[in-house]
Amino acid sequence: MLDLSLLPDGGIGWLDASGEHPDIVISTRIRLARNIEGYAFAGRARDGERLRILSQVEQAMRGMRELHHGVMLRVDEMPSDDRMLLHERHLVSRELAGLDPQRPVRSGAAVYLTRGTSVMVNEEDHLRLQAIESGLRIGSAF
């Protein structure tokens, strides 16, 4: 079972109703998709290519001080229950978690988590950046 203490704020900090208009707006989520030059898109890339993409992303993240307090999780190495848990907490998409029997989890699928922010690797795009905050906080999330 996934150790929830590994997840910054348990992965559900956005549920604390601390944002603006929490009685109307549960959360604000912004997702940005980016792809790395020189690789086929994630849906077309072969397993080895996806693992090279992940390796390149991890190397780049090590060089960024702002990302030192987060945790990188290998979704492709998790059992289905743990992947379901991440999806239920809106930390990964259904596609990355491989919850659809016709579309199982693919190699190189990973997610980097820090408080209020996550980066999915090898989902529909090479990188899917996500910021999620409680209530209506568009500017802060962006």
Binding site: N35, E37, Y39, A40, F41, G43, R44, E124
Partner: protein, 150 residues
């Protein structure tokens, strides 16, 4: 034979008409449409053949084909945009009417700020334009400014 169903009040009347009688009654029928020419048929066959050839084209970087895009809805890599440009533009024209954006464009927030000054007529003109472009927050600001002037 054209079959015409007329509903008058609670009654329904079914008429069987020839082309001439239908035309006299002003009934539009497919029989009145011009018969397809052999040239139209050959053109549609040529277009279908071109589409098939376009589907078989392959991207040199990722080896995906336009047929793959049709079946998955996703391109294989950044180079696919160049490899399938013609087919993509044809598809965009069929679906959206153009291969270039011809609709509304984003305006930066700075342009929404109501400038100080300006006559009442200028403000009314700006108010009308804001309403026409559905910029209702800007329209409300201009309206308040007009009220302050009147």
């Amino acid at each position: 034979m054209i079959q015409l169903t007329e509903i008058e009040g609670t009654g329904v009347r079914l008429l069987h008409l020839c082309e001439r009688c239908a035309a006299e009654r002003g009934v539009e029928t497919t029989a009145a449409a011009p018969k397809p020419q052999i040239s139209d048929f050959l053109q549609s066959v040529h277009q279908a053949m071109q589409a098939t050839q376009g589907d078989a084209a392959r991207c040199a970087f990722c080896s995906s084909t336009f047929r793959d895009f049709r079946s998955t809805g996703r391109l294989g890599c950044a180079h696919c945009y160049d490899a399938f440009e013609k087919s993509m533009r044809d598809l965009l024209r069929r679906v959206h009417g153009s291969s270039q954006h011809i609709g509304r464009r984003y305006e930066s927030p700075a342009s929404h700020v109501v400038p100080d000054g300006g006559t009442a007529n200028e403000l009314r003109d700006r108010l009308r334009r804001a309403i026409d472009s559905e910029q209702f927050e800007l329209a409300a600001d201009i309206r308040d400014k007009l009220r302050g002037m009147e």
